[in-house]
């Protein structure tokens, strides 16, 4: 059996904090560099359960190509849903890190993200369910998944930013 990679919780938490800073600053090109070449970005619908995005309708199921398209779109002034760009604020709880085959670690960490578009403050609560690869240049997303702990999105709570 192949050896599992060793990544500490501190390394993962530093990675998640640095990622949050990039997202809050809308530094999306740098954020995109945090993905492996085949990295995905997913937000399941609450009733999709354990069904993969190839068999259930998610809110977001970007493969690498769609993810690039999403970032490009968000950098356009024609991405009306995020013009002006909303202010975001991310609280990320303690991460639990489990090594899994394929030189990956499974990361689970709770989040509370607030989005402040033009007036109201919209909370998003849930947890990250990421698969990270350990590379020479640091941790990288194989799968970046945000799971909502909500049965529906609250009024006005779009997923037009990166959650």
């Amino acid at each position: 059996m192949a050896a599992l990679v060793t990544v500490t919780r501190a390394e993962v938490e530093d990675f998640l904090s640095a990622e949050a800073e990039l997202l809050d600053a809308w530094r999306l090109d740098e954020w995109l560099d945090l993905f492996l070449a085949d990295g995905t970005y997913e937000i399941p619908t609450p009733d999709a359960g354990d069904i993969p995005p190839t068999a259930a309708q998610f809110f977001i199921a970007d493969d690498a190509e769609l993810l690039r398209a999403r970032v490009k779109r968000l950098q356009s002034r024609h991405a009306h849903a995020e013009q002006p760009r909303s202010v975001t604020h991310r609280m990320i709880g303690r991460a639990r890190v489990t090594a899994v085959p394929g030189e990956l670690v499974l990361v689970r960490a709770p989040f509370i993200v607030h989005r402040v578009p033009d007036g109201p403050v919209d909370p998003y609560i849930g947890w990250y369910d990421h698969l990270l690869g350990s590379t020479e240049v640091g941790l990288r997303f194989r799968r970046r998944r945000s799971v909502l702990a909500m049965d529906r999105l609250r009024p006005g709570s779009r997923l037009s930013f990166i959650l």
Binding site: P46, D47, A55, Q57
Partner: protein, 429 residues
């Protein structure tokens, strides 16, 4: 009495009073006269395939419980115990042999009968007590090709009469596959800070597509597809229903190829089209396969037969708040790789996390915020929206198109939106 719409064919003006989107009084009148007296889309039959499968869903503010009973019949009840009113099924979905109210343990069969209650001796003897206190069904339930509608008005016209020509558009969706259609797992459920009528206007508005979805159109162009409004039609179907029919916005999974679908899908599409044309004829087959159709059924159903198929249900919560549920519909028998492509293509476009719908949502939320500015301004025309685009062509009375089933004008005009408002105004007064 307030005037809600003004239409002057001679001056080519059509205006809507913005108070119609803001007023609590209008909202109450709509609840009574629209939501209380029309057919409302409830669900697709495939959502409860097996006996005992049930779901709960709020429609027009009323909690409903729909279940496939032991004999296979779909039943729709108010989700409220006939005894003292408790919510009976408190799960969003499940499978049940019986429904038991947790409060006093009254137990009901899926077919509605009260079958057990503790200490029955304290009630009158005989069958009539139990018979009187079975689950309360909604007044009317009818379906068309798997699409189930309810009405709370016992006197409502039958569903076919209500749908009229719109029924044919539903049939075209059902015609995709000889094996039948099914709702896929995963509901996109979100709430918009906007009046429900703004969601209707947005769906029937071809004029917004290119400016609002500039980033999506740019992405399609990069993938090798040039989206265009050329030849797009708005079809007025009567009773407030309408449709946009387009062929230049995108390809259609399983039906009509575009480059981003890949070569394997191209071969599958070729085979599907042969089967489709043999089954329903080339004339109708080409409408089913090659046109993207967005159907609006008054008041709460939007059926998008576009890149893939999306069923969208509108549920007004307050004048400025609308709950939206969106399901993906697919042929039951398609291979896994085609299913994956279908889901990817739809999810990339629609929903609150797609590359396009968020901009639509922003549009109707921005209207709801924007129209606060002019509220109460007494000057002529200030607190009114203009819906007059393309009235000249509409009034030229183009003959009804037999294949499309109604009065046809350009998709980038506003005839569909006007037909909605005319019907709304007739109902609301």
């Amino acid at each position: 009495m307030t005037t809600w719409i003004t239409e002057d064919p001679a001056a080519l003006t059509f205006r809507v009073n913005r108070e119609a989107f803001r007023s609590a009084e209008v909202f109450r009148a709509e609840q009574e006269r629209i939501w209380g007296r029309h057919w409302l889309y409830l669900c697709h039959e495939s959502e409860v395939p097996e006996p005992g499968d049930f779901r709960t869903r709020t429609v027009a503010g009323r909690g409903l419980l729909f279940v496939r009973d032991a004999a296979g019949q779909l039943r729709v009840y108010f989700n409220s115990c006939p005894h003292r009113g408790t919510v009976l099924a408190r799960e969003p979905a499940g499978n049940a042999k019986v429904f038991q109210c947790f409060y006093h343990a009254w137990t009901f069969a899926t077919s509605g009968e009260l079958i057990a209650l503790p200490d029955e001796a304290a009630y009158p003897p005989g069958a009539s007590f139990r018979e009187r206190l079975g689950l309360r069904p909604v007044a009317r339930v009818e379906s068309l090709r798997g699409f189930v509608f309810v009405s709370f008005d016992p006197e409502v016209v039958d569903l076919r009469t209500h749908l009229g020509v719109a029924a044919d558009y539903i049939e075209m969706v059902a015609d995709h596959s000889p094996a039948g259609m099914t709702v896929l797992p995963g509901t996109q459920r979100y709430t918009v800070r906007g009046n429900w009528k703004l969601a209707v206007e947005n769906a029937m508005d071809g004029y917004h597509f290119l400016p609002t979805h500039a980033t999506f159109v740019a992405w399609l162009r990069e993938s090798g597809f040039h989206a265009s409004d050329e030849g797009g039609k708005a079809v007025v179907l009567g009773r407030g229903h309408s449709a946009l029919v387009q062929s230049g916005h995108s390809g259609r999974v399983g039906m009509c190829w575009e480059p981003r679908f890949g070569e394997a899908e191209r071969a599958r599409i070729d085979a599907n089209r042969v089967e489709l044309f043999a089954r329903i004829g080339r004339d109708r087959g080409s409408v089913v396969a090659d046109t993207s159709r967005i159907l609006y059924v008054f008041p709460n159903l939007l059926l998008f037969d576009i890149e893939a198929i999306s069923i969208r249900q509108l549920e007004p919560v307050a004048p400025g708040v609308t709950d939206v549920r969106a399901w993906e519909l697919a042929p039951v028998d398609e291979p896994p790789e085609a299913r994956a492509l279908r889901i990817k293509v739809l999810v990339s476009f629609v929903g609150p996390g797609g590359l396009a719908t968020p901009d639509d949502i922003e549009a109707y939320e921005a209207i709801q915020r924007g129209i606060l500015a002019t509220a109460g301004d007494p000057r002529e025309g200030v607190d009114w929206n203009d819906i007059s685009r393309g009235m000249t062509q509409e009034l030229a009375r183009a003959p009804a198109d037999a294949r499309l089933g109604g009065i046809v004008s350009r998709s980038i005009d506003e005839a569909g939106i006007r037909s909605f408002w005319r019907h709304w105004s007739e109902v609301i007064g």
